[in-house]
Symmetry: C2
DNA sequence: ACGAATCTACCTACTAGTTGGTAGGTAATT
DNA sequence: AATTACCTACCAACTAGTAGGTAGATTCGT
């Protein structure tokens, strides 16, 4: 099997938690070393530089999103249900406080100060997500299961922006319910005769 | 007049530029010292600690927003025009690259890692902006100049989230036009018979 | 089958540079 | 005389990253 020591995975998980909390400059190798019970230098064995670490983190984040969306689309073919499942996933994360923010949305906020190797991965995530949403909305509009008032691409971009902004608001208010409160009317406008 | 050496203002302006680029941990006193041609220690004369500096920066940001909105509302009483002016302001900032991001929206993304004195100011900004937008939308809905499909408060939160998310997307795509592209359909849904 | 070489995952100990912040001095203004 | 706005010269703590070593597992040549 492919199990080359799960320490590397532990490091990535800790790094994700720190990044979600405080961004790229908000954590150090020492912080990670402490929480996973290893020495600082040992992290350099797995990830020679901080750029390497965050780059593989973001790259894997995108890969997981791609496979996740692909699988989701196979199980849930209905466009309205897809959008509801997508926002529901984040609502769940925010309520759990398990992952109250999309790593890439957070890193996008500090894009100008990010090492270019990481910036390029963050941009790739935005392009993928917007492309996926455009496809879903286009399909829903064609079927008549979604009602749109602009081009699918524009609707998708606006939808994605609302989701990201709602994460920001939920964090600002310290209110986990804020995310759902914001997304409910947004979904209602897209999905006809929703309760 | 009230002009107690404009060095303090220069420091605040430089700090704002750095924060907008890379967040709270993304700049140092040394960075500011270099761009405004002063020694690092001299900044401590104006702002004893980094928390002091950023706290007055955010507090002033909120004050400016309050006076700006009040004045705007006196000159432009029409709710649809108010929303258009508000988004237009940010579209302008993003196109100029002069201030491509709301300081508070950016700081909200790293709220859990922020010193509490600053976090509280950021939250105050969100509450103010959401309150102001709620008032505008409520008034517009009452007059029939805005069409809403949820409670004014929910519409306001969704609108604010879309604006903040659109800033993120504009940054991610490196495309200044993305902001306007996202806000156009959002405004069109609120404003009846817009061209 | 068996010792040798290699590899993995960690360690201690260090480096050069940066961080926010302090002490104390100077020159000009009030 | 006091205040303001700056300065030089520090400091301890922390930053990412390196050098070099060790114990254990794996692989390889014979």
């Amino acid at each position: 099997m492919n199990k080359p020591s799960n320490t590397a995975d532990d490091i990535l998980a800790a790094a994700r938690t720190f990044i979600v909390a405080g961004g790229y400059d908000g954590f150090s190798y020492a912080d990670i070393a402490e929480v996973i019970g290893i020495r600082k230098a040992s992290i350099h064995h797995h990830f020679p530089s901080k750029v390497d670490l965050v780059q593989t983190l973001v790259r894997r984040y995108l890969e997981d999103a791609v496979t996740g969306m692909t699988e989701l689309e196979r199980n849930v073919p209905d466009p309205p249900a897809l959008l509801r499942t997508y926002t529901g996933f984040w609502a769940q994360c925010i309520e759990d406080a398990s992952r109250p923010f999309c790593v890439c949305a957070l890193l996008a906020s500090e894009l100008p100060a990010l090492p270019p190797e990481i910036a390029v991965e963050v941009r790739a995530y935005f392009r993928f997500l917007s492309g996926w949403l455009t496809g879903v909305i286009e399909r829903g509009a064609g079927q008549g299961t979604l009602t749109i008032s602009a081009a699918p691409r524009a609707e998708a971009e606006a939808f994605m922006a609302t989701v990201h902004g709602a994460m920001l608001s939920a964090r600002a208010y310290g209110d986990t319910a804020a995310f759902g409160m914001i997304l409910a009317p947004t979904l209602r406008k897209l999905i006809p005769e929703a309760d």
